[in-house]
């Protein structure tokens, strides 16, 4: 498909979708959102890119293979359980630390974010591997 309108719109939409997916990922701890839906939003962005341009450039945008992205996500999710063990409590216990940046409110960072990031990457990787496989079948 080569539509000038779609291509031009995609250039603006994809960064917005990716930003929105990160917002969903980070907001998910207290508000609607989270790793799963964030990953889907990011996948929607990449799928749009693949539609407007071509699958190969979308693949290069992902850098890793879709399977690699999911594997990385799984690994992050599993590793997020380890800080709990190192601090002497159960596997997957949530551990938090507070980061003080000048000019910002204190930011709480914890292992659940890492777990959610893992979910985000797994969803992104799995969705992209399905979409790429279907799109390449067609062409």
């Amino acid at each position: 498909m080569s539509s000038l309108i779609l291509r031009t719109a995609t250039r603006y939409l994809v960064p917005l979708l990716l930003l929105f997916s990160i917002y969903l990922l980070l907001a998910g701890h207290n508000y609607p959102g989270g790793g799963f839906v964030g990953g889907l939003a990011a996948a929607a962005g990449l799928a749009l890119y693949a539609l407007a341009f071509d699958v190969r450039s979308a693949r290069t945008m992902l850098r890793l293979t879709p399977t690699g992205v999911s594997a990385l996500g799984l690994m992050l999710a599993a590793l997020s359980g380890l800080p709990g063990i190192l601090r002497g409590s159960s596997f997957l216990t949530g551990k938090w630390m507070v980061a003080y940046l000048p000019g910002f409110d204190p930011i709480k960072i914890g292992t659940p974010v890492l777990f959610d990031l893992g979910v985000y990457l797994v969803v992104l990787g799995v969705t992209m591997s399905i979409i790429f496989a279907l799109a390449e079948e067609e062409s």
């Binding site: 594997a71 799984l74 690994m75 599993a78 709990g84 409590s89 596997f91 997957l92």
Partner: protein, 497 residues
């Protein structure tokens, strides 16, 4: 007790590492073999801890039971994890020798690791819903392993396998939902406390029967076993062996766990039903095997028949019978995996499993013949191998309970098992080769790589046979913990029941 999470987390982490290095066969093989070896160490450590300290529990994420995710291990769970790790190690080594390079490229090793993760999770979880999740993890991995390669018979077997297992999962989920509705909890320790106090006995019996149907399909008991011989001979030998050794036994494990701790069989409606199922499973399995003339098909039907023995011990429901069942599982997982591995070597050498096209292996490869004889005779129950003691315990337990018909069928089936094993022995190893020089060339290094895991498992079989006393004592303790789960409940809930 973070040790409990290790048999689940280790294969997960290694699978992700293997997925990231998909291009390198060496890397994947090293991860699979190293990971399986690590699992063996960890699982033995777990077994020793449980043997010393009694049941252990881990509240994942520090959320208290019965609300959070609970991992718990009593002796039965720890024994099962040891068995699955030993099988996993043998399969990983064998896969290196099998050199299914096309399949390796599509994630063979990560899938094997994920399958082990699901199996270990099922053995260690202390929660009915998480048991369901672990079953699904295990099934997803097994679906792909079964179909990987995409040969026509594989797809045909795979469709039956997937359809029936999905049906079983649906039953399982429905039963879990009903159980939650009836009792208000799915934590196994909590259930063991609350079910005896629940008023609606009829509903709980019905829920128990739903679980029986769900796990019965997965364990391949009569009359729900037909998916097994339809699918197990189709994938590559290493995958067949892994499935044959472990997957149905996860169903048997779930049956034992549920019908001792949660729905005790004693004097219930389910007990006579279970006895019938045990006898019919044994008989149909062995008769099916007698009618087959393909190496792996014969062995597949024997899985069904052997499952009958394990159910027999559960159905008799005396301490001795339960211990017999557990000992039977210990013996069976090792022996069955090994028989499939031997059939795989024959398959790689000759490209067929049809008994009438094979022959002359005793002359060509006498050591392989002896390595087949050890598990085969153990399966048939010849002393002093492990199968003899397993069957002895079950038969003695049956005689004490005056279950004459059940004991008679167990003995008759044992004889027919011997018939099937001698049939394979006669056709594949003893008779003259009908097509001489049909053997595919195989480098000695690869052959050795295939045979080492067989030697390992045969050694384990012999070791179980010669240390039957201590092994059986272990099984008796495991059965005692199931009959009286107060230590398990205390470990999980923190209070005495």
């Amino acid at each position: 007790m973070n040790l409990l999470a290790a048999p689940i987390v280790i294969p997960l982490l290694l699978a992700t590492l293997a997925l990231l290095g998909m291009r390198s066969h060496r890397w994947q093989q090293a991860l699979a073999v190293g990971g399986a070896a690590l699992l063996v160490l960890v699982s033995f450590r777990l077994l020793f801890r449980v043997r010393e300290e009694g049941a252990l529990a881990l509240q994942v994420g520090n959320w208290p039971a019965p609300f959070g995710i609970t991992l718990a291990a009593d002796l039965l769970g720890a024994i099962m994890v040891v068995l699955s790790s030993v099988t996993g190690l043998a399969i990983a080594l064998y896969s290196v020798g099998a050199r299914e390079t096309a399949r390796e490229r599509f994630g063979y090793y990560p899938l094997v690791l994920l399958l082990l993760m699901g199996v270990n999770g099922a053995f260690l979880t202390g929660d009915v819903f998480n048991l369901y999740v672990c079953f699904e993890v295990m099934l997803m991995a097994s679906f792909v392993l079964l179909a990987l390669g995409g040969e026509k018979p594989q797809i045909e077997g795979g469709v039956k396998y997937v359809a029936l297992n999905f049906f079983s999962s649906a039953l399982f989920l429905a039963a879990a939902g009903l159980l939650y509705g009836a009792v208000g909890t799915l934590n196994m320790a909590d259930l063991a406390v609350k079910i005896p106090a629940a008023e609606d006995g009829g509903l709980l019996t019905a829920i128990g029967l739903l679980f029986l149907a769900a796990f019965g399909i997965k364990a391949a008991i009569f009359p729900l076993f037909f998916w097994l011989p339809a699918s197990y001979h189709t994938p590559p030998p290493a995958v067949s062996a892994l499935f044959a050794g472990l997957l149905t036994k996860v169903g048997v494990y779930a049956l034992i766990r549920f019908f001792t701790m949660l729905f005790p069989l004693e004097a219930s409606f389910t007990q006579p039903l279970m006895m019938w199922l045990a006898a019919l499973t044994m008989i149909t399995g062995v008769l099916g095997a007698a009618a087959q003339h393909e190496f792996r098909r014969v062995l597949s039907f024997h899985i069904v028949s052997q499952i009958g023995y394990m159910i027999m011990g559960l159905a008799l429901f005396t301490p001795l019978a339960l211990a017999g069942s557990i000992f039977y599982i210990m013996h069976h997982i090792i022996v069955k995996t090994n028989l499939f591995l031997v059939s795989g070597v024959v398959h790689y050498l000759r490209g067929t499993g049809e008994l009438k096209e094979l022959g002359g292996f005793y002359r060509a490869r006498p050591w392989l013949a002896i390595l087949f004889l050890v598990p085969a005779m153990s399966l048939a129950g010849l002393p002093p191998l492990s199968g003899f003691f397993a069957k002895l315990a079950l038969v003695v337990a049956g005689l004490r309970e005056a279950a004459w018909a059940l004991v008679a069928s167990a003995l008759a089936v044992s004889l027919l098992t011997l018939y099937s094993m001698t049939k394979i022995w006669g056709e594949v190893f003893w008779k003259a080769d009908p097509t001489p020089n049909a053997e595919a060339a195989m480098e000695p290094a690869r052959y050795r790589m295939l045979v080492w895991p067989i030697v390992l498992l045969a050694a384990v079989t012999v070791a179980i046979g010669f240390s039957a006393g201590p092994m059986f004592a272990l099984a008796v303790d495991a059965a005692g913990q199931l009959a009286n789960p107060s230590a398990y409940i205390r470990a999980v809930l923190g209070t005495a029941p």
